[in-house]
């Protein structure tokens, strides 16, 4: 039986067509991956099914009957549940309170919390969704919060679960746990749609996979009969190297040295006395689950945050304050939060390409812009790095996430830096652009630059780095070589020093 059928769904946002006549059939009881690059229209499609958007045309069938879904309420009534990429939980409330909010059990008009707790404990037990019903959401881990979201859907009697990029926030171990939960759901007869842009996860968990590209369905395949390479090709529309080549390189003198760096945060110490050095021709990777002080470390190194103690040198020279002093000594920075730090979305491509150089020659002379120089430079960089934009005058917000990131990478690397601080350089970027960005970083390495790679993507750190430092709770807990096992690094990232030792 078909649990859900989407027929000829088209959805436009202004001039952008997010979904073009999409047809999707999800069989009852299967795990179905929606695979595609960012901006391929996966989430839009599922939001239409969940009633958060209305399709411009097309129709929906649930359990082989035509339905109209105007609000999430309608979808929930049809047994559809959705776990969003950004959780929708109230931190101050308990797990149980969050789960029942909106569909509370009452007895004689009073909230029956004990029954609710019991129900939720039973539900959690059944699917191995390990979480304490009376714990406050603010006190539990991100992985557990995700379980609360799944519980919310199950509590509302969902048979059809949509998980939107659920692994983005998880450690490798938590991802394994999630996959186990998904298998249990499947065994219990539930249907799961799993939105992702990761090939490995698609191969690991799905029965069938539908590939979306530019808002249209490319193909629906049986997972057992396909391969990562084939999926990547359909996703991007051309052959993609899934694993970049990292030839041996000549390692030179240390270019960036960090000694006993500590950074305070509002809640205490975010980074605690970290020391490392990055040598010419080397990529030093810092792995870790997000929120373990990486952002503070990044901002301290690039001059956006004050250090509480420690020293930093580039070519053995002490650094001044602020980002400008870094640019002076040849440091480039690919920021982890592209939209917050990396671009001014309302500015044009050309203007974003000179961010940080807007006072420098040849772009400006005594503060007056040379439009000619700026435009020539922008045209050249756009062509050289293959940034896909309507024109250099198009606002950056109109570019896809991958092209925005390419723009940031292009801007930073075309400054001809000696030291590159690359933070989450491929976050939210599609497979094709990932390959490209990785190759750019490796090219910098081959030409004798020092690269510090801070990334929560363990695959990325392992593929690119010569050495790997693992960061946990603001400290470097281990240093490993590039061939360290994934499971070992995963445990270290989760703070299991002893077990990993």
């Amino acid at each position: 039986m078909r649990a859900v059928e989407l027929l000829d769904i088209t959805k436009r946002f202004g001039t952008l067509t997010a979904n073009k006549a999409v047809n999707l059939a999800v069989e009852s009881g299967e795990v179905h991956c929606l695979l595609g690059e960012n901006g391929a229209g996966k989430t839009t499609l599922m939001k239409i099914l969940f009633g958060l958007y209305q399709a411009d045309s097309g129709s929906i069938r649930v359990n082989e009957r035509p339905v109209t879904i105007r609000r999430p309420d309608d979808a929930i009534g049809l047994g559809i549940g959705m776990v969003h990429q950004h959780f929708m939980l109230v931190p101050r409330l308990t797990v149980t309170e969050n789960v029942i909010a909106g569909s509370e059990v009452s007895r004689h008009g009073f909230l029956d919390m004990n029954t609710a707790v019991e129900d939720i404990a039973k539900l959690a037990e059944r699917y191995r969704l390990r979480v304490a019903p009376r714990a406050r959401v603010e006190d539990i881990s991100v992985g557990q919060q995700q379980r609360v979201e799944i519980l919310k859907a199950l509590y509302r009697k969902a048979d059809f679960l949509i998980l939107d990029e659920p692994t983005a926030v998880l450690t490798p171990q938590e991802t394994d746990d999630l996959f186990e939960i998904i298998r249990r759901l499947k065994n219990d007869g539930k249907t799961v749609v799993f939105i992702t842009h990761k090939l490995r996860e698609t191969m690991a968990i799905s029965d069938r996979v539908t590939v979306l590209r530019d808002g249209a369905v490319v193909d629906t395949l049986n997972t057992a009969e396909t391969s990562p390479a084939e999926l990547a090709r359909r996703m991007v529309g051309r052959d993609v190297l899934l694993r970049v080549e990292r030839p041996p390189s000549e390692v030179g003198a240390p270019l960036l040295e960090v000694r006993d760096l500590s950074v305070a945060s509002r809640y205490g110490t975010a980074v605690e006395s970290i020391s490392f050095s990055v040598r010419a021709g080397e990529i030093l990777g810092i792995a870790g689950v997000e929120g373990n002080g990486q952002l503070e470390l990044e901002e301290a190194i690039v001059g956006l945050r004050r250090l509480s103690s420690g020293t930093m040198t580039v070519r053995a020279k002490e650094l001044g304050t602020g980002p400008d002093a870094r640019r002076e000594v040849g440091m480039a920075h690919i920021p982890s939060d592209r939209l917050r730090r990396g671009v001014v979305p309302d500015f044009s491509v050309a203007w974003n390409l000179i961010l940080g150089s807007q006072w420098r020659s040849p772009f400006s002379r005594r503060g007056a812009f040379s439009r000619k120089q700026i435009n020539e430079y922008a045209e050249r960089v756009v062509a050289q790095y293959g940034i896909r934009c309507g024109s250099i005058d198009a606002p950056v917000r109109s570019l896809s996430g991958g092209n925005q990131q390419k723009l940031v990478v292009a801007r930073e690397l075309s400054r001809k830096p000696d030291v590159v601080i690359a933070c989450q350089p491929t976050r939210g970027v599609d497979v094709g652009a990932i390959e490209y960005i990785h190759n750019q970083l490796l090219a910098m390495r081959a030409s004798g630059k020092a690269i510090l790679l801070i990334s929560a993507e363990l695959d990325e750190v392992r593929a690119l780095s010569d050495r790997i430092l693992v960061m946990y709770e603001g400290k470097i807990v281990a240093e490993r070589s590039c061939d360290a096992a994934e499971s070992e690094l995963g445990l270290l990232m989760a703070g299991h020093q002893a077990e990993a030792g």
Binding site: L7, G14, T15, L16, Q54, A55, D56, S57, G58, S59, I60, R61, P66, T68, V302, L304, G322, P323, D324, R327, H333, P335, R340, R341, G342, V343, V344, P345, D346, F347, S348, W351, L355, G356, Q358, W359, F363, S364, G367, A368, F369, R371, C389, G390, S391, D393, A394, P395, R397, S398
Partner: protein, 373 residues
């Protein structure tokens, strides 16, 4: 509100553009179209009000149009009234671009006017360009200093510029009154200074109408502001802070410095507005002289969507409503309150572009998802 400032220097709208200039023009026209539609709607609603209140709408609008554009004198009046609003509009619009809301134009205008008048009392015997230039310089400087205060307070303490600049308005009005009556009062009942020297009086460009070269200065300043935002690194920094302060900081821009400068630059504009009123209209400083130029400047900046030429058009509109309102009152016997209602309606409709857009879209038939039965 701080994100309100739109521009045509920066392309808006998410789409690829084949030819940039034509796209830019189209974007500007769309913006202009919405503003024009807002004005039209305001006039329609006002007409309904007039009908309800028993006035002759045709006569009212006819005399309004005549008063504003129908004769050389009327048009001069429109331009004359538009001039200070042009500058106070910039006072608000420049800060807008840096993400700040300058409500303090009124106070900056008072200090500018007083400084201008005091300098203009002393320029006896100097050649005309200097006799006018020096007082205006003083006006700009006074406006800059007063305008920078909320910027400094924001940068140092995080105090919101809306609160501080409103408070500083009252201080400025009372302080200039006090200084005038205490130290510079001319004989008579009114708290005002002596007449400025003849050399400092702004020349009239159409004799007998009172219209002075101030309007030309305003147009020149509009070009300067457009250049500043489109073609200078500092203008870039202003807008980077306004659009994404975190990215600006990443790009080496100190938001705090920009906050002080943006409020200060806004202050220059308001100060010069005060100076021009003194040199063109009053020819002395008069306590409490402003009919709210600084506040109307907020409306002008909003209507002009922060765009330099939009501000020019908006100032002209408000000038026209003002002079047209006078003749509407005179010939159609409609109370001046109603002119203020028209102005208010325009502001509400322009400041709520989302509502307006929804109304426009509302008229198109909606495409509903089709059910396959």
């Amino acid at each position: 509100m701080t994100q309100k400032a739109d521009s045509t220097i920066l392309p808006t709208g998410a789409r690829s553009r084949p030819t940039t200039s034509s796209e830019k023009v189209r974007a500007a026209l769309t913006e202009l179209g919405f503003s024009a539609f807002a004005i039209f709607l305001a006039l329609v609603i006002s007409a309904l009000l007039m009908v309800i209140l028993g006035y002759n709408v045709a006569l009212a609008y006819q005399s309004m149009f005549r008063g504003a554009f129908g004769s050389l004198h009327g048009f001069s009046q429109t331009l004359l009234r538009a001039t200070p609003l042009l500058f106070t509009g910039f006072a608000v619009a420049i800060a807008f671009r840096a993400g700040l809301f300058n409500i303090g134009a009124e106070g900056q205008l008072y200090w500018g006017a007083l400084a201008c008048a005091l300098v203009a009392l002393t320029v006896e015997g100097m050649p005309k360009p200097i006799a006018i230039g020096l007082p205006l310089l003083a006006a700009g400087l006074a406006g800059f200093l007063w305008g920078a205060i909320p910027g400094i307070l924001k940068a140092k303490t995080g105090a919101h510029e809306v609160i501080t600049s409103i408070m500083l308005n009252s201080i400025a009005i009372f302080a200039t009154t006090h200084i005038t009556s205490r130290y510079f009062k001319a004989p008579g009942a009114v708290d005002q200074t002596e007449r400025i020297v003849a050399a400092a009086v702004m020349p009239q460009i159409i004799p007998g109408t009172g219209l002075t070269a101030g309007i030309l200065l305003g147009i020149a300043v509009a070009a300067l502001v457009a250049w500043f935002f489109g073609h200078t690194a500092l203008g870039y920094d202003f807008q980077a802070v306004g659009r994404n302060a975190d990215a600006a900081e990443y790009g080496g821009v100190s938001s705090k410095r920009i906050q002080v400068l943006a409020m200060g630059f806004g202050g220059i504009m308001a100060g010069v507005a005060g100076g021009i009123v003194v040199l063109s209209l009053l020819n002395r400083f008069v306590a409490n002289f402003s009919p709210g130029y600084g506040f109307t400047g907020i409306a002008v900046a909003v209507l002009g969507r922060g765009n330099p030429w939009g501000v020019v058009l908006a100032a002209l509109l408000f000038g026209a409503l003002d002079s047209g309102g006078m003749s509407m009152q005179l010939f159609a016997r409609i109370p001046s309150d109603l002119t203020i209602v028209v102005q208010g309606l325009v502001i509400i409709l322009v400041a709520a572009p989302a509502a307006l857009r929804a109304m426009v879209r509302w008229r198109k038939p909606k495409v509903e998802p089709v059910d396959v039965a």
